[in-house]
Amino acid sequence: MTKIILATVAFGILCGRFGVENIGIIQWIVENNGLLIDWGLYVLLFVVGLDMGRNDTVFSDMKKAGWRILVFPVATIIGTLLGAALVSFLFPYKINECMAIGAGFGWYSLAPVLLAEYSSMISAICFLSNVMRELLAFIFIPIVAKYVGYIESTSLAGAAAMDTCLGVTIRSTHERIVIFAIAGGMITGTLVAVIIPLLISF
């Protein structure tokens, strides 16, 4: 899937770079970018919600596990935003822009799209950063699980903890950690659509 995604973005970039002046449909797409993105987002979030609602064991598992499960994702979110904010001192980007880039929590198909109308530059960095978050999570989950702790390893992937990175989490930790990963993925994932628009409204 990651390969398809990278290829799609690369193809889009090439179309945008070389097709705007020559190909009518590409010109139309670029001109109506905002509208096309909005409608795509509506469909995506509806289907994501549908999946969440259909998966009823997730909610009952989370209820059983109690409030402690829910505070770890909060630490992941605060840590992510704090880490990204610190970086703003190294680069010529505003503090809220860096935080918004980090606030994708690895959901690279949603976060950069939310930022597309704000700034193509920030959106491009956001895409790269969140693809990296998922890839780096694959590498670091076993290491953090071994040397730091099981629960800590679930915070690495952010929103990807509940899908693409779940397999590596189970292999590196224990069955009981799955609920931490799923709760973390769900909470950070849901908040992507809240935190990013909020951060760029400043």
Binding site: G12, L14, G49, L50, G83, Y93, A116, Y150, L156
Partner: protein
């Protein structure tokens, strides 16, 4: 704010429909099985559609295109810092809540 509310309410409608479909499937068998089967496919298609559009936006912005080879460094530093501070805070919280390294609650 209005945009966020719109996005979240669309997601909430999805969740409610998902819960209803789930209940209905249990009651009447697999009447809505097509929805289960296609939602993953729809998701993949929409993601590919969105990322293509995003690509055209990035590609048609000359400044971004010119700086693409530099932007990945910014992205890498932000990602590493975000993950590191995230792990650090979760670590402190785990200690404070008295879970052991393997995620088992320790008795006081």
């Amino acid at each position: 704010m209005a945009y966020t509310a719109k996005l979240l309410s669309i997601m909430a409608v999805g969740i409610v429909v998902g819960i209803l479909v789930n209940k209905n499937t249990k009651k009447t068998g697999n009447k809505f099985e097509w929805l289960t089967k296609t939602s993953g496919k729809i998701q993949t298609m929409v993601v590919i559609y969105l990322l293509f559009i995003l690509g055209t936006r990035i590609g048609s912005d000359e400044q971004v295109f010119a700086e693409l080879d530099r932007l990945w460094i910014v992205a890498l530093v932000i990602t590493m810092a975000a993950m590191a501070v995230g792990v650090l805070l979760v670590h402190l919280l785990r200690k404070a809540l008295k879970f052991d390294k393997e995620g088992v609650k320790m008795d006081d």
